[in-house]
């Protein structure tokens, strides 16, 4: 396997519900990535596309639709869906194609237009589709799963309502400084604690909504392209993980979970991050900036533990002590996180990678982590899906 670099990235800023065609959003991100990489469309030798599940035929073949916009060139186009880790799957395939020498330069992208309100079941077959019963009989939208785990955490480790609110305070401060973020209002601790409960113990501002957005990344091993790129970023590892038997987490879509743990919580993310550490030859102590999936304030805390940045039950202290702030020991989500963006399923993992790349390239203005050399993007996904990407400059 040879070294692979990110030479271009592009984002369509995150927004709310939109009537815009998803491929037009994708085109904005891909145009941005091509310009950033300073290359022609014809240099793209493979397209790894995130599937937009609500987009029908166009969404399922999103790579073909995108290719038709820029001009069909006959290159391999693969469309992939791994829930919230879809973008991780896309960049991993692009990386593998280039690292193995199959192609010199590849594109990974994802674009998602949010459905209005809650996400919901996509079929009516309760036996085949494990996502049906929780919607039709369980009354269990996604945040319920997070709230159930959050309550356990509060009882086990003493996480307080103030800890949960503090995550939002910090994320809103950073989101306000990010031009790509959807939510730019800052909140005080008091304001967050006064917001209504959506699923007690989680409040309105402590869970992320669904959004619309697009992100694209161009990777290459072409020495000439790397040489002319503006601060190319090396991909040290980009991995995918699935769940491990005995993981006690109640996984989204499930109606039950093991009562006696035999594996770590969020084991899919444990798996992805440990694979990435091994491949990259780095440990959590080497990471200068971390983007983690703060779908809720609970995620922010538990992910620090899942990915080995502290021991179980110690994340709250890291947060309270300011270690996760920009300028702290481990700056977490200087982008403002999902809290300031919302979920755009097939795009969000790539957006996290781009924020990490931008931090390493020193492009983050007011939210810049000074001197960052190694960055990590960590995703989370439904039904045991996760991806980790470690980058360096």
């Amino acid at each position: 396997m040879r070294d692979v670099y990110i030479i271009g990235t592009g984002i369509h800023p995150w927004t709310g519900f939109s009537e815009t065609v998803f491929a037009d959003f994708a085109a904005v991100a891909v145009d941005g990535a091509l310009k950033d990489a300073n290359i022609e469309w014809r240099r793209i030798q493979a397209i790894m596309a995130g599937i937009f599940i609500y987009g029908g035929n166009a969404g399922h073949l999103s790579g073909q639709y995108l290719e038709s916009i820029f001009g069909e060139t006959g290159v391999p186009v693969v469309n992939v869906y791994n829930a919230c880790a879809t973008g991780s799957a896309a960049i991993r395939m692009a990386y593998n194609s280039v690292a193995a020498g199959e192609t010199e330069t590849a594109l990974a992208f994802g674009a998602d237009v949010s459905p209005k309100g809650f996400l919901t079941a996509k079929s009516d077959n309760a036996v085949q589709d494990r996502d049906v019963i929780r919607w039709k009989m369980g009354g269990m939208p996604n945040p319920i799963y997070w709230a159930l785990e959050c309550r356990k955490r509060m009882a086990k480790y003493g996480t307080t309502e103030e800890d949960l609110a503090l995550v939002k305070v910090l994320m809103s401060e950073y989101g306000a400084k990010n031009p790509h973020a959807r939510f730019k209002k800052t909140y005080s601790l008091e304001e967050v604690l006064k917001s209504v409960y959506v699923c007690d113990p989680l409040r309105l501002y402590e869970i992320c909504p669904v959004s619309t957005g697009a992100a694209a990344v161009i990777v290459t091993a072409d020495k000439e392209l790397i040489a002319k790129a503006d601060k190319p970023v090396k991909i040290n590892a980009t991995t995918m993980g699935s769940a491990i038997y005995g993981d006690p987490t109640i996984r989204i879509s499930a109606l039950s979970c093991p009562a006696v743990p035999e594996a770590p919580m969020l084991s899919e993310s444990y798996s992805a991050s440990r694979q990435a550490y091994e491949k990259a030859g780095v440990g959590p102590e080497d990471i200068d900036v971390l983007e983690l999936p703060d779908n809720s304030s609970w995620h922010y805390l538990v992910y620090l533990e899942t990915c080995g940045f502290c021991k179980e039950g110690e994340a709250d202290k890291m947060l309270r002590d300011g270690e996760t702030k920009i300028g702290g020991k481990l700056p977490v989500n200087p982008s403002g996180g999902f809290s300031s963006h919302g979920e755009a399923l097939s795009a969000q993992a790539l957006w996290q990678v781009i924020e990490c790349a931008n931090q390493l390239r020193g492009r983050c203005g007011e939210r810049q982590v000074q001197g960052a050399k190694v960055a990590m993007a960590q995703t989370y996904g439904l039904m045991g899906n996760s991806g980790t990407t470690i980058l360096s400059i």
Binding site: R130, K136, E149, C150, R151, D200, P201, I250, L255, A259
Partner: protein, 144 residues
């Protein structure tokens, strides 16, 4: 127990009351020892032969392992004629079976919920279907 004759679960093979008490319909793998709920949500231990999976009913009672209270109306395709919001969702642990199961909390003052309290399986009326049957889901209530 109230008259159950005209009641039907919205989706079959989840909740049973034929024995005279309401219980969840689980399956147990006799090779790896894992219990599944629902039955089709297989979760075998790696390397398991997957032989000898049998249908079983979970005990009626378990302990509350976690809970959350929802302050929004539950979105479609959930359907009920009752005003259930705010509604509780409990995670109830069946100790011997080493499984925790989620379900709506009913007939219980949500302010009294406490981790570890004893809960029992019951049903919640959802709506009346075209055949004039009362459609139900499984639920949990505090043991009085």
């Amino acid at each position: 127990m109230e008259n159950m004759a005209n009641k039907v679960a919205r989706i079959p093979n989840l909740v049973d009351w034929s024995t005279g008490e309401v219980r969840l319909m689980s399956a147990k793998c006799n090779s790896c020892g894992t219990y599944f709920f629902p039955r089709e949500h297989y979760q075998h231990r790696p390397g398991c032969s997957r032989e000898g999976v049998e249908n079983v009913l979970l005990p009626r009672r378990g302990k509350l392992a976690s809970y959350t209270v929802q302050y929004y109306p539950c979105p479609a395709p959930f359907k009920t004629e009752q005003k259930i919001t705010p509604y509780g969702i409990g995670l109830v642990e069946f100790e011997n079976e080493k499984i925790q199961v989620a379900g709506i909390i009913t007939n219980t003052d949500l302010k009294t919920l406490q981790l570890g309290m004893e809960m029992e399986t019951t049903i919640l009326d959802m709506y009346v279907n075209e055949e004039k049957q009362q459609v139900v889901t499984w639920a949990f209530q505090a043991v009085k």
